[in-house]
């Protein structure tokens, strides 16, 4: 990606976010369901309800509400959560690192599994055992992440209780960390006991998120490897006396990586979306889990903040994918 293209993409970010904001704002207020109705005790008077509505600005015309909110957001204030009664920004900053760490771990697991499966599949190309790999990939792809979450929870949490099935870490552990990126910080600080305890909790949800994505990576990469191996340059490498594993690794793989990252990279958004249900199932304290509560409680400010956060993540992810593809493909770089 060239500089001009990068700037063009960055310039497009604010209008994109504005569009997302408009849509979520309007949808929330058009769809039935009211945050006030969810929080009032039974038998509250009309006057009390009215006062609450006024407190959260819900008595204003929708355009007025939007303008007020947008003004706040522009100055970094996402308002107060109605159901949790904290600042939305604080809630997001506290929970987002948990989700990012989970998604990163899941992505890493998926990439390792996917690359290994694709390489195994391509090495077996044309042999009968190839269908075992293809079949396995197809099966992994057919089962969605939340089902994996339930399966793993039953298997390793209940049937063979090897791993904890809820939360991010044992509450009695004294973390004493500076950021909310517990895993990253504890690894960087060399506090591996804490890192281990965290991984212990994260492994099941991470694997649940990783399995379908690993299958996707495997399928994309295997197809790309097969295509690249049939190209002239790979055939000619055989005529130079290079062994097949050598050719696959050094000639074919760097080429196959380009379409795999370009097509598979943006699919990390699917994995991020998957955190909503998977975090819920494992009571993991990330923004996905929080999103479900926010929706149940019709917590407008929190939902709005969450949707914008996801939108920023998706946009950032797309940019990163394009940058990586540019790094991998010299034909896209300036000569």
């Amino acid at each position: 990606m060239r500089w001009g293209e990068l700037i063009r993409r960055l310039v497009l970010v604010p209008p994109t976010l504005f569009g997302v904001a408009v849509i979520v704002f309007v949808l929330l207020r058009v769809v039935p369901g009211d945050p006030i109705a969810m929080m009032i005790p039974p038998g509250a008077s009309e006057a009390d309800i009215g006062r609450l509505r006024a407190l959260y600005g819900l008595d204003q015309p929708i355009l007025q509400q939007f303008a007020t909110w947008l003004g706040q957001v522009a100055s970094g204030d996402f308002g107060r959560s109605i159901s949790v009664r904290q600042r939305v920004l604080e809630l997001l900053l506290a929970r987002l690192p948990a989700t990012i760490e989970l998604a990163l771990l899941a992505t890493m697991i998926a990439v390792v599994l996917g690359v290994v499966a694709a390489l195994a599949g391509i090495l077996l190309r044309g042999r009968r055992a190839e269908w075992i790999v293809d079949g396995g990939i197809g099966m992994l792809l057919a089962i969605p992440d939340f089902l994996w979450a339930l399966i793993l929870l039953l298997l390793f949490g209940v049937l063979i209780p090897l791993l904890p099935i809820s939360g991010r870490i044992d509450p009695e552990i004294d973390l004493n960390l500076r950021s909310n990126f517990y895993l990253i910080e504890s690894v960087l600080a060399g506090r591996f006991d804490i890192a281990f305890a965290l991984l212990h909790h994260m492994i099941l949800p991470a694997v649940a998120l990783a399995l379908p994505f690993a299958a996707l990576v495997a399928r994309l990469l295997k197809a790309s490897l097969a295509e690249a191996e049939d190209q002239d340059y790979a055939q000619i490498a055989r005529a130079r006396g290079y062994s097949r594993p050598n050719i696959l690794l050094h000639e074919v793989f760097p080429n196959a990586l380009i379409p795999t990252v370009a097509l598979g990279g943006v699919q990390v958004t699917l994995l991020l979306g998957g955190t909503v249900l998977v975090e819920r199932i494992f009571s993991y304290e990330g923004i996905g889990n929080m999103a479900i509560d926010a929706v149940i409680n019709r917590d407008f400010p929190l939902i709005q903040g969450l949707v914008l956060t996801f939108a920023v993540l998706f946009i950032a992810l797309n940019l990163v994918v394009d940058l990586v593809v540019t790094m991998l493909d010299p034909r896209l770089r300036y000569g």
Binding site: R238, A239, R240, G241, E251, P254, N255
Partner: protein, 291 residues
């Protein structure tokens, strides 16, 4: 003296189709042999069989391919891989698709040298620069740092020629190395092949359907038709006294500057005269170059 390269009664089948039906030919050390025949005659299949690049559904059903007296088809995979790229090299047909698009020229030549000659990274790069100079590429150090898409087709073909001769091969198989290039570049490439094979002492099996090229650079030739050898011998003899009607037809179909290609016309003696005089001129150039 053992021949550099011997093919005996080679049969190759793709499914039910026999694409080579008992081909024999021989290339002596330092010899340049033309392999001609119309499209689909099986020329590329012969080269592929030698290099172990037959398509997955193809099989050698009979015959022998020997390199310096050793049976290529019978030898162990690892042993054959030590010969390929080092003692037996290929100049591919299409320079646009024959280089790895994501690797620098220097890495591609360097890897080949290091794979076969066990050089250090630095020596390999230095040697790669020398090889580029040999194929008349100016500023070799700069070119080593470029990617294939950053250089022209003619230049890519020169890089591929440099790679073919990099390890002083005894045999180079050139499968129509000029057909994808435009005419002016074709001549330069032919001259380079001629110069490098003299310098490195290699024999060449030159696959082409251009009899003009054969007349220019090949001492001997083999005419292939529908998977069989129709005619074989010294280029001079085959071209001046073609024994087979098919060869005569091929000759008549060879275009010249003053006459477009035609099918099935008797060979005008003037054409042969012209081809031969060109051939000797080029030999002189090559001899001067080599000195």
């Amino acid at each position: 003296m053992t021949a550099t390269f011997t093919v005996e009664g080679l049969k190759v089948a793709i499914g039910a189709a026999n694409v080579l039906r008992g081909v024999s030919l021989e290339v002596q050390p330092g010899e340049v042999r033309g392999l001609v025949g119309e499209s689909g005659a099986g020329k590329s299949m012969l080269g592929r069989a030698v290099l172990g690049l037959l398509p997955a559904n193809a099989a050698v059903t009979a015959g022998r391919i020997a390199f310096e007296g050793r049976d290529l088809l019978a030898m162990a995979e690892a042993e054959r891989r030590r010969l390929l790229g080092r003692r037996i090299a290929l100049i591919p047909q299409d320079p646009m698709t024959s280089l790895n698009p994501v690797k620098r020229i220097g890495a591609q030549i360097g890897n080949l040298l290091r794979h076969h000659l066990d050089l250090s990274k630095r020596t390999a790069l230095a040697r790669a620069a020398e090889l580029l100079t040999e194929v008349a590429i100016r500023e070799p150090e700069r070119v080593l740092a470029l990617y294939p898409h950053e250089i022209s087709g003619g230049m890519r073909q020169r890089v591929l020629i440099a790679m073919a001769f990099a390890c002083d091969p005894a045999l180079v198989i050139a499968d129509e190395p000029t057909t994808a290039l435009d005419v002016t570049v074709q001549r330069q490439v032919l001259q380079l092949v001629e110069r490098l094979r003299l310098r490195h002492g290699s024999a060449v099996l030159f696959v082409t359907h251009d009899l003009g090229v054969v007349a220019k650079i090949c001492r001997s030739m083999t005419v292939l038709h529908a998977g069989r050898v129709l005619e074989e011998g010294e280029t001079a003899n085959v071209l001046t006294r073609p024994r087979h009607a098919y060869t005569r037809a091929l000759l008549a179909a060879t275009p010249r500057a003053d006459r477009p290609a035609e099918a099935l016309r008797p060979v005008p003696p003037a054409l042969i005269e012209q081809l031969w005089s060109e051939a000797h001129r080029l030999d002189d150039v090559a001899a001067v170059d080599a000195a």
